[in-house]
């Protein structure tokens, strides 16, 4: 559920865009949404669409809480090419550690849940 600060992020995901705030002073992207730059404190910040590409930093396979289809969710950290890191799910692959090498390249896609779309990631080259 968005707050006023995060509304542009969630409006973006509904349009199929991954948007982050970027600081006009220090040039860095950051996540999660804030009223001023997480690195230099500047208020000169803008929402910008990012590439949607990143790498797999770490993950767990949740054996305790399978989804409605009986699959074990892969709860992962993705580091975006622009720098920020996010919690996400890896989709389109079996929950098998042999198929999930750390540092694997990932691409964003969006999964509609209720009135929200959440950014999930797929291994690059994996069929969608």
């Amino acid at each position: 559920m968005p707050t006023p600060e995060s509304a542009p992020f969630w409006a973006g995901t509904l349009r199929g865009e991954l948007r982050l705030q970027q600081c006009d002073d220090c040039g860095r992207h950051y996540f999660y949404p804030r009223v001023s730059c997480r690195y230099c404190g500047s208020s000169r910040i803008q929402w910008r669409q990012v590439s949607g590409h990143g790498r797999l930093v770490s993950y767990i396979i949740n054996h305790r809480q399978p989804d409605s289809a009986g699959r074990q969710p892969i709860i992962a950290l993705v580091e975006l090419d622009e720098g920020p890191r996010m919690m996400t799910n890896i989709v389109g692959v079996d929950a098998d550690p042999d198929l999930l090498p750390l540092d694997a390249r990932l691409t964003v896609e969006f999964e509609v849940r209720g009135d929200q779309a959440i950014p999930v990631f797929r291994l690059e080259g994996a069929a969608s």
Partner: protein
């Protein structure tokens, strides 16, 4: 003049609830009350002697009133399981400043039986509600665990290193009649337990129990006149730090900045080095956490934690006895385990632990809270430096 560090402030009373484990007849308030009563009795004091109170997980006003205490100093700092490390540090500052004379720190949690518990919920528009919960990262086992694979990967370590932590601590638990999981176990058996969240199996995750503990702090001067004054434990140093309430936003996934900063301040204020430590309590909600701590606190170098544990250094007879009550993995874990880590350090320094470390004089206690969110570090000793 009483100083905050260096032994000016002491733990004059320390006790847990009569039992820990599954206590369906105990509400949260009863656990606080029983722990407070036992700790005050240990110190030889009455509720009326207490003028400062600290707790977490339950409103400090309600706890004070429940115990019949009219405080002139209150601390409700609530940063998860290490809150009690911060309470001890804050109490030492308050006693040194003259803001309180006798501080009671209490913990009580019905983590297993859930009696008299304030419900926990993640607000859908909170940071965690927006940016972690939608992906299923809500429970401790689906949040605190997420960075572990990266830690292992970066060091060429494996799940066997997680299992070795469990094995070492079970050897301590075997010697502790109050421990929840006591049966000795092997690395292969740990790996064969039911998976909870790969790479974690059941025994790599803490137990879930009911229980409580409390501490009484006062000046060394005042403690010297108490009936049990010769059992006092000195607060030599302390530190605290925080990073992010979201585990996904740790600055570095395979090293926790708050461990490094809090412990550095604790070592500096105590005027000691890791080599001076006889006994370590390293808050272990999950098996990877002590490995982070061993490296981030400087007991071993980067990448050495797994082999250090696997070769027996932290077990009985080892060079750095660690989590000698069995830890959160085997002894008890009510939800906010930090109080129990402090209790075991006090028992060891008093020479009263079920699995006593010979000649333990300096104990380091490292807490963690809100997953990789906050850290509190304490250095205790049973003699002045």
């Amino acid at each position: 003049m009483t100083t905050m560090h260096g032994g000016g402030v002491v733990i004059a009373g320390a006790a847990e609830t009569d039992e820990v484990g599954a206590l369906p007849e105990h509400s949260v308030l009863r656990l606080h009350g029983e722990a407070a009563r036992n700790a005050l009795a240990d110190a030889g004091l009455q509720p009326g002697d207490v003028d400062g109170i600290a707790t977490a997980g339950h409103n400090v006003v309600e706890i004070a009133h429940h115990l019949g205490i009219a405080p002139r100093w209150l601390d409700g700092t609530s940063v998860g399981g290490c809150s009690f490390m911060l309470h001890v540090r804050h109490a030492a500052a308050a006693i040194a400043a003259g803001a309180a004379d006798v501080v009671l720190v209490t913990h009580g949690e019905s983590g297993r039986s859930r009696v008299g518990v304030t419900p926990y919920s993640i607000g859908p528009d909170s940071l965690k509600g927006q940016f972690e919960a939608p992906f299923g990262s809500t429970a401790p086992f689906s949040s605190f665990t997420v960075p572990a694979l990266r830690f292992l990967h970066d060091r060429g370590m494996s799940r066997r290193d997680l299992a070795a932590v469990v094995v070492a601590q079970r050897e301590w638990a075997f010697r502790n009649p109050r421990a929840f999981r006591r049966k000795p176990i092997t690395v292969d058996e740990v790996l064969d337990r039911p998976p909870v969240a790969y790479p974690f199996t059941r025994d790599m995750c803490c137990v879930v129990t009911d229980g409580g503990g409390a501490l009484v702090l006062t000046s060394a001067e005042r403690a010297a006149d108490l009936p049990n004054g010769d059992r006092r434990v000195y607060v030599l140093g302390s530190g605290e730090a925080s990073e992010s309430s979201l585990v996904s936003q740790m600055d570095d996934v395979s090293s926790f900045g708050a461990f490094r900063r809090a412990s550095a301040e604790a070592f500096a204020t105590a005027g000691i080095m890791p080599a001076d430590v006889d006994h370590l309590m390293a808050y272990d909600a999950f098996a990877h956490v002590p490995l982070y701590m061993l490296e981030d606190l400087g007991f071993v170098s980067h990448g050495e934690s797994g082999a250090f544990v696997a070769s027996g250094n932290t077990g009985p007879g080892g060079t750095l006895p660690m989590n000698t009550n069995g830890g959160g993995l085997s002894y008890t874990h009510t939800g906010m385990y930090g109080m129990f880590a402090i209790q075991e350090a006090v028992r060891q320094l008093r020479g009263e632990a079920p699995a006593q470390v010979p000649d333990a004089e300096v104990s380091f206690v490292q807490g963690v809270g809100m997953f990789f969110g906050a850290a509190g570090s304490l250095v205790f000793a049973n003699r002045l430096p």
